[in-house]
Symmetry: C2
Subunit: 429 residues, 2 copies
């Protein structure tokens, strides 16, 4: 018999026969009747067991046992979706499940985070953990759809690289057929080179940081959403694309993860048609910070976030023009005053979510800047050589998927929204 999903039960007339399949999410045994809540990928369904033989069988199906249930649809206003399945015949599709190491049937996961992570394969089954990832999956879809519609080309660049460029620190070393290689900290250099090929590119992929800090915001491996585009006038053209990308991610969350939004009770941001922008100097003023601060502290970012809400009713604020010396070497200085750069951060609810900039595009500028910053230009030639052959003015940005979702879901720790997090201490499961 064709399988019906839990969310599809309401489409069946009371009295009709259906087969549902899923996990025994919870059993409640009363006198002479057991309610079995079945969980499948679409949600929950209630099955009412009264027949003594079936009651005995169900008593042996521990929570998480996978079953197929054929029965009759009946109306019940107090059941999920207003319907339940009665007169069920159960068939176990797996051996009876052992008692799970974390309780999955409670509305919230009561296990501590380390325990959740130790048993990630099971704790991710909890509807709250599933819903958080659904936000991530929907966001990815919105990210790509927005860029596909704007003529961007998806690319995949190597994660194994020959030199520890960009920043020498915090890279993982790999034994590559007997010689050293490194895990890419970002696709930065490749996406810039590929602007010379496709003009507009994006990549979704893992990046690796040998991050020695054990904080709620840092992971050793995370998913980076990278964008780069050519033929820009300045970084404001990049900010305009960023605005559309975030709006597209938000729209996709509403379209493809509305059930998760509801379950988590989260407040999805409204993305204004134009993002409020503060220059770095103004951001310091807003934060009441000295004018010679080289960067924004977390407290400054919170102040900027509060300003955006207060002045523009916006959860999102762009800060542009960070001091050139505080930014990566490939950031384009402001031609009017090279002390400031054509870089920007997007502050989402008081926390930096995105970094971006117009980049240098002239070969001579790279040679000069690398030397001035004390880098060895030889380590960068396979990257900078492309700029000898015409790479248009360009810029881009990167969004950390886990950071985005953790802010969106209001999760205190980025590990709560990551399927299998990696950090200083954790390499399994």
């Amino acid at each position: 018999m064709q399988r019906t999903l839990a969310r599809g039960l309401t489409g069946h007339e009371p009295g009709s026969t259906v087969t549902i399949q899923g996990w025994v999410h919870r059993r409640r045994a009363l006198s002479g009747v057991t309610f079995v809540v079945l969980r499948d990928r679409s949600g929950l369904a209630q099955v009412v067991v009264k027949d003594p033989t079936t009651l005995a069988a169900v008593a042996g199906y521990g929570e998480e046992t996978v079953v197929s249930v054929t029965g009759t649809v009946a109306a019940n206003a107090s059941a999920p979706g207003g319907v339940e399945v009665v007169h069920p015949v159960f068939e176990a599709l797996t051996d009876p499940a052992q008692t799970p190491p974390v309780e999955l049937w409670r509305p919230t996961l009561t296990a501590g985070l380390p325990s959740q992570l130790d048993h990630a394969g099971v704790s991710l089954r909890h509807p709250v953990r599933q819903a958080r990832w659904k936000l991530a999956a929907a966001s990815l879809r919105g990210f790509r759809d927005t860029l596909d519609a704007r003529d961007f080309t998806e690319v995949h660049t190597p994660k194994l690289v020959g030199s520890a460029t960009e920043s020498g620190a915090n890279v993982f070393e790999v034994d590559y057929f007997g010689r050293p290689a490194y895990l890419a900290q970002s696709p930065q250099l490749y996406k810039q080179v590929l602007v010379g090929v496709f003009e507009r590119v994006y990549e979704v992929g893992p990046v690796f940081r040998a991050e020695p800090h054990d904080t709620v915001r840092h992971l050793a491996e995370y998913v980076s959403l990278d964008v780069e585009l050519g033929f820009v006038r300045d970084h404001r053209d990049v900010v305009a694309v960023l605005r559309d990308v975030v709006a597209g991610m938000v729209a996709a969350v509403h379209e493809h993860a509305s059930e998760a939004v509801r379950l988590l009770g989260i407040d999805v941001p409204v993305v204004p048609a134009e993002l409020p922008v503060l220059h770095f100097r103004e951001a310091l003023e807003v934060a009441g910070a000295p004018a010679d601060e080289p960067d924004l502290s977390p407290a400054h970012e919170r102040a900027v976030g509060a300003w955006g809400l207060r002045e523009h009713g916006s959860d999102l604020v762009v800060v542009e023009g960070y001091p050139t010396a505080s930014r990566a070497f490939y950031s384009h200085p402001d031609p009017e005053d090279p002390h400031w750069s054509r870089s920007f951060d997007l502050i989402f609810r008081g926390v930096e979510l995105v970094s971006g900039a117009q980049r240098l595009h002239r070969h001579a500028d790279y040679v000069e800047t690398l030397a001035a910053r004390g880098h060895d230009p030889a380590a960068y030639t396979s990257y900078t050589d492309a700029f000898r052959y015409g790479v248009p003015p360009h810029g881009g940005f990167a969004i950390g998927l886990e950071r985005w979702v953790s802010r969106l879901a209001g999760a205190a720790n980025v590990r709560e929204v990551t399927l299998f997090p990696r950090d200083l201490h954790r390499l399994a499961p």
Copy 2:
């Protein structure tokens, strides 16, 4: 002035003023006139230069210099799209480009493959190389769209893993904060565990093989398109999804990369409503091979491919039921005769493109099979533990992106369709 793309020129009336931007693809200087072919992300446009001052300027713009050209649209049947730009005013957006290390303006790339790869950032600009990647990007889009429409959840699983499972050989070792970690050879174990969470999952991401073979088919890092789904009856349910996925990839190639198909002159396969299937035993017969062969050789696969064309007019053939002993430990044996497995390969034009199977889903089966094959079950517990808690009958498959595109494009070497290939000898650019 708003930029017009090369492919958009035909939408402008002759006599109107346009600005186009891109790379100087080629200059042909005749007596008193120079034709500049401009390349942008959409294609080529011809610019006719007659003004002496502009002629002198253009003489200084070596091929690959990035320029902005404002001029007048004029009809010319012999120009790309039937229109060209006359009375141009040039503005260089970069310094004059140096002479590229590979000639990009010829219809085919004449540089040898090693030279192309050494200068990948530049040689990828060649329209043929761009077009090959456009096949890849379109295929990825078709892959995801097909699965999104079927209620699959996109996942991202860690590439840094704590133990060298699945096969002990050919893994890259990483220095992970002073202890050994490994690069994942596939998301196999994670995607199976995630069937226990989301029922249906897919992942697009890098996989790593410390592949000591220097062949035209092997890379040390490639993009794997992984699919896994639960609540299957047997592997035939998986094959049905595979059929739809390949059909979706083909449809997306037509929809999003038609220009690449035309430029490359390739023959895109027609995917039959049902893929022809041979049992492994029958495949050996078709190939005229002894009945006790443990696996299909490349010659056997070619014979199977020829059979598919001859008997079914199909470029695609499924071979199912490979000997259990020849397949990975998690392959589900045929319950009727466990000598054979519920596994399959998809043969595309005589070469294996996809491997898949129904997998084991009972914890006891894993314990037994790992022991029987001489694996250390302890190394697998963080994976196999999930099966104690109910993972439904499931199966899946993986498609190698580069292998798919190389067969589609008729490329002899997988490196010809990879942006920045990694192999035994190559770690840069």
